[in-house]
Structures are given as C-alpha cells and as structure tokens.
C-alpha cells in the first residue's frame, strides 16, 4: 500500500471524515486558548473547569439543551465554589480547586450512571471521536468558532490581563471581567474538546500546545500560529495511528501531543539543550546590558 493510500483510505469512511474534522477543530481552538492558560498560570484551572462541566453536560443531555449551556453553568459554578472554599483563607487555592473539581466530576459520574440513554454517556468521560454524528460536528464547529473568534478579537486585552493585570486596572479595564471572559471561553472549549478526548484528557489539549509553542518563540503572535499548527498536526497523526493500529483515539491524540512537547522541550531555543547553549553564550555576553547587583545603601 502506498503512503498516499495510508492517508486516503480512512477518508473513505464518513465517520473518519467527521472524526478528523472534529479533531482538527478541537485541536485548533484548544491550542489558541492554551496560549493564554499557560501564561496566566491557569493549567490547573483548565483541568478543574474541564472536569467540572461533566454534570452540566449530562444534565443538558437529560433536558435536551445544548451541551454548551450546561457546561457554562457548571464551569461558572466551579469557579464560584473554588472562590467560596478558598474564601476563609484556611484552604489554599490548589486544595480548593482539587476539592471542587473532583466533587463535581464525581457528581457527573453518578449522573451518568443513573441517566438512561441510547448513546453511551461514558463517551463524554473518555471521548469517542469515531462516533461523532453530523449534528455533534455542527455543534462543535459553532462552539469552536465562537471560542476562537472571542479569543482572537480580545487577544490584546487577554494578553494584557495575563502580563500585567495591575496596568489593565490602572487604565480603567476590568481584570475581573477579562478573567471571567477567559473562563467562559474555557468552559465552551471544554465541550468542544471532550468530544475528541473526553473530559479526563481535555486538560492535555488545553495545556500542551501552548506550553510547546512557548518554548519555540518569544512572540505571542507566533505562539498563536505555532500552537494550533502543532496541535492540529499532532492530533491528526494521533488519529491516523489509532486508525491503523486500532488504538484508543483520544489517548493517541494526547500521546502524540505529549511526545511532540517532549521533543521540543529537548531541542527548542528555550528547551533543555537550548538553555545549555545559552548558558555558555551568557558567559561572554555584553556586560553593559546586564544589570549589576545593586550596591547602593538602602534604608
């Protein structure tokens, strides 16, 4: 079989075409969002919100509402609960996040177990990209478009929010509102991604592409190109591998992304080897541009 056949044969099946389309959409929008999540330091928040949407998605299924509505409600609820648990000051934020998202996720699992359905709701948990229907694909496309458009239109404000929220506040913008916007997009994006890899692995797609791009460039604008390209390519490769070797599709998508990150981490300018080179270069660097330690007396 020629290499071209390897690529084309799966496309003879409609389910594979839908799977590829869904995967690429999810990979691109997750990668865009991940650029901000890794810079704000919200990877754990991404994990939390993506797990916490599960009960919302199940309830939306039960009442016949769009998944995104349920996801948004529970994503928001998770954020409010984290704030409330942390509010007293005794419970630190990471513990608060850990408590809230696992509890909501557990609620989701219980709801799955008691909800009679013709489609297997466990697919929400572990993903079932090969079983995506045309209406699922349409929903994914709409949500992905909304999320991506929001991120790209507000990208400068969101970068400012990530880089210097104090300045954002000082010029009359609301860091709180920008944070809420990012969380809203996160909840919507979680719905898109869980179709591909399931709730459990969504966080991988929300963190790995941004972290990979971050190692490759010093320009945020370039991250916004590199992350989606790497993410979509890895996801498609993962899907093809799962097709040919009969492996779990969601797992393969994430595994390939993880391997790509590993390679970049080793070889990139900001990666392990790059830092070694930079360390040697710094020894002969121009002293004039380097701040000397402050020797002046202080109060």
């Amino acid at each position: 079989m020629s290499p071209l056949d390897l690529l084309l044969e799966p496309l003879g099946y409609e389910f594979m075409v839908r799977a590829l389309a869904t995967t690429v959409l999810a990979a691109v929008v997750c990668a865009l969002l991940s650029c901000w999540l890794v810079l704000v330091g919200w990877s754990l928040m991404g994990d939390a919100v993506s797990h916490a949407v599960l009960p919302g998605v199940v309830l939306a299924y039960v009442v016949g509402a769009p998944f995104a509505v349920g996801a948004l409600v529970f994503g928001l609820l998770a954020v409010v609960l984290v704030g409330a648990v942390r509010g007293g000051g005794r419970v630190k934020e990471d513990a608060a996040i850990g408590i809230v998202f696992t509890t909501l996720f557990a609620l989701g699992l219980v709801l799955v177990s008691v909800t009679p359905s013709d489609t297997d709701l466990n697919h929400i948990v572990f993903g079932n990209v090969l079983g995506v229907s045309t209406s699922d694909l349409v929903q994914v496309a709409v949500l992905a478009a909304v999320a991506a458009a929001t991120l790209l239109l507000k990208r400068r404000d969101l970068v400012l929010f990530a880089f210097d929220p104090t300045h954002a506040h000082a010029i009359g913008l609301s860091p709180r509102r920008l944070g809420a916007l990012l969380l809203g997009v996160l909840a919507v994006t979680a719905v898109v991604a869980l179709q591909v890899v399931g709730v459990v692995l969504v966080v991988a797609m929300l963190v790995i592409p941004g972290a990979t791009a971050c190692l490759l460039t010093d320009r945020f604008g370039r991250m916004l190109v590199l992350a989606p390209v790497l993410s979509a390519t890895s996801a498609v490769v993962g899907l093809y591998l799962s097709y040919w070797y009969d492996l779990a599709s969601g797992g393969m998508v994430v595994l390939v992304q993880g391997v790509v990150f590993g390679v970049v981490h080793l070889l990139a300018p900001h990666g392990v080897l790059g830092r070694r080179r930079a360390g040697r270069a710094a020894a002969v660097a121009d002293e004039a541009t380097t701040a000397r330690p402050e020797a002046a007396p202080v109060v």
Partner: protein, 255 residues
C-alpha cells in the same frame, strides 16, 4: 490649582493588619515626590490605594479632582510595577509593552491606529529604547526594563505616574537615566510619585519627600526629610542609630 493627587484620611486594613492609618497627602502637578519607608511601611499599599487596586476602608482618593475610577478611565494614572512583579519570560516585546499604554483609548479589539503607533515610537525614542524595541522584555537589563514601563506611561499620556521601587536591582548608570527621565516628565507638568528604599537617589530625584510609617510621618523638602532626626521618626529607630547609619551624605543602611 487642582492638586494632581489628594489622599484624605485613607485607612487600609488587611484582615487584622493595619497597613495604612489615616494617611493624608496632597501633591501639586509637575512635582516629583519620593515615598520613603521601610518594608511594610505601606508604600505599595498607598500606591495601590491610588490606582484603586486596594479599596480603602476609610477616606478617599482624588486624582486631578476626579475619583480614581474616572481618572483610570481617562488614562490619567500610569503604574510602573516592581521589578519582581513582572514576568520576564512573558512573550511580549518592548514595543508591545509600550503599546499597552494606549489600550485605554482604543476600540474593543485594541487595534493601534497610525497616531498610536506614532505615540509608541515617540515614547520609545524618549526613553532611549528605540533600538531595543523588538526585544523580548526579559532580555533587557533591570534599568532598561524600568524605562520600558515608564515609556508605557508616556505613551498613555498619563498625568500621574506611580513607580514602585524603580531602582531596586538597577545599576547606577540606569538609575541616573531613569532619574533624569522622571525629572523631564515633571518639567512637562506630569506628577511623579516614586516609592523607594534608596535615600541616595532622593536629592537628585525628588522635589519633595513623604516619609511613611503606616501614616505620614513627614512631608516636605528632601533635605529636611533626610535629616537624621526626621528619618529616625520614619524608621522607628533611635536618632543615634540613624545618624551613624546614614551619615552626613544621607546614605541609608539596611533596615
């Protein structure tokens, strides 16, 4: 004349800790004021109360006669963060940082127009960073990075510039450059409030000084502020200790 900054009976508490106690102060436009105090004296808190990041439990703040929220929306307040508050690995260039000064006056997508690009270029020129404009912000020296953030305030056309410890981790040459820059801005009619540990820089830098120790211990001309007995009050030390530690030249000592 409307004061550039009015702080009236401002009190700030963090839980049980009293950070600012009945602080009042007025700054006239076109002045550089040094805000001096030991760690924990409330310098950063006072700056944050002016930007509105911290909400005072009592008292009020006015910036050029406006309440802080209005002044913020007008772009009247620029804030230069402490060295360690900046994520130096963040993938933005010097030009990107300066452009952020314009965001308040732009449309919802913050797309820069020709006039904004010109203002950014002019601000970069003014602080002498034109040649480094496309560098990632972490690849600057401490002093250059301070200048980049001051340039952001210039591009913003802010009336009131607040700087939190701008000389920490900055070499002497860069410090002199920043001091000259701030003096020029004051000569243009802007008002500059600088929190600092560094008594050394004060005579060149500031027209007046505020000594802060949860409340205002002294507010007046710099030479008076640097007198050992005045400093002793601000630092909460015995006069003799300060005199021996600061010396006639007004050198400080680690508190």
């Amino acid at each position: 004349m409307t004061p550039a900054l009015e702080v009236e009976h401002v009190t700030v508490r963090y839980g049980d800790v009293l950070a600012l106690d009945d602080v009042s102060l007025r700054l006239a436009p076109g002045r550089v004021c040094g805000l001096v105090g030991v760690n924990g004296a409330g310098k950063s808190t006072l700056l944050q109360a002016v930007t509105g990041t911290v909400r005072p439990g009592a008292g009020r703040v006015r910036v050029l006669g406006d309440d802080p929220a209005r002044a913020r929306r007008r772009g009247a307040i620029a804030y230069v963060p402490q060295q360690e508050a900046v994520d130096v690995t963040f993938p933005v260039s010097v030009r990107d940082v300066v452009a952020m000064g314009r965001y308040g006056r732009l449309g919802p997508t913050r797309r820069l127009r020709a006039a904004d690009h010109a203002a950014v270029d002019a601000a970069l020129e003014r602080v002498g960073l034109t040649a480094l404009a496309d560098r990632q912000v972490g690849r600057l020296s401490g002093g250059q990075r301070r200048r980049a953030f001051v340039a952001r305030g210039i591009a913003q056309e802010a009336d009131l510039l607040l700087l939190d410890e701008p000389f920490a981790g900055v070499d002497k040459g860069s410090e002199a450059t920043v001091v000259r820059l701030l003096r020029e801005l004051a000569a243009d009619g802007r008002t500059v409030l600088v929190s600092t540990h560094d008594l050394h820089a004060l005579p060149d830098l500031a027209d007046e000084a505020v000594l802060l120790r949860r409340s205002v211990v002294f507010h007046g001309p710099v030479p008076e502020a640097l007198r050992p007995e005045t400093l002793a009050g601000a630092l909460g030390l015995a006069t003799g200790t300060v005199a021996s530690r600061t010396g006639a030249a007004g050198e400080g000592a680690a508190a």
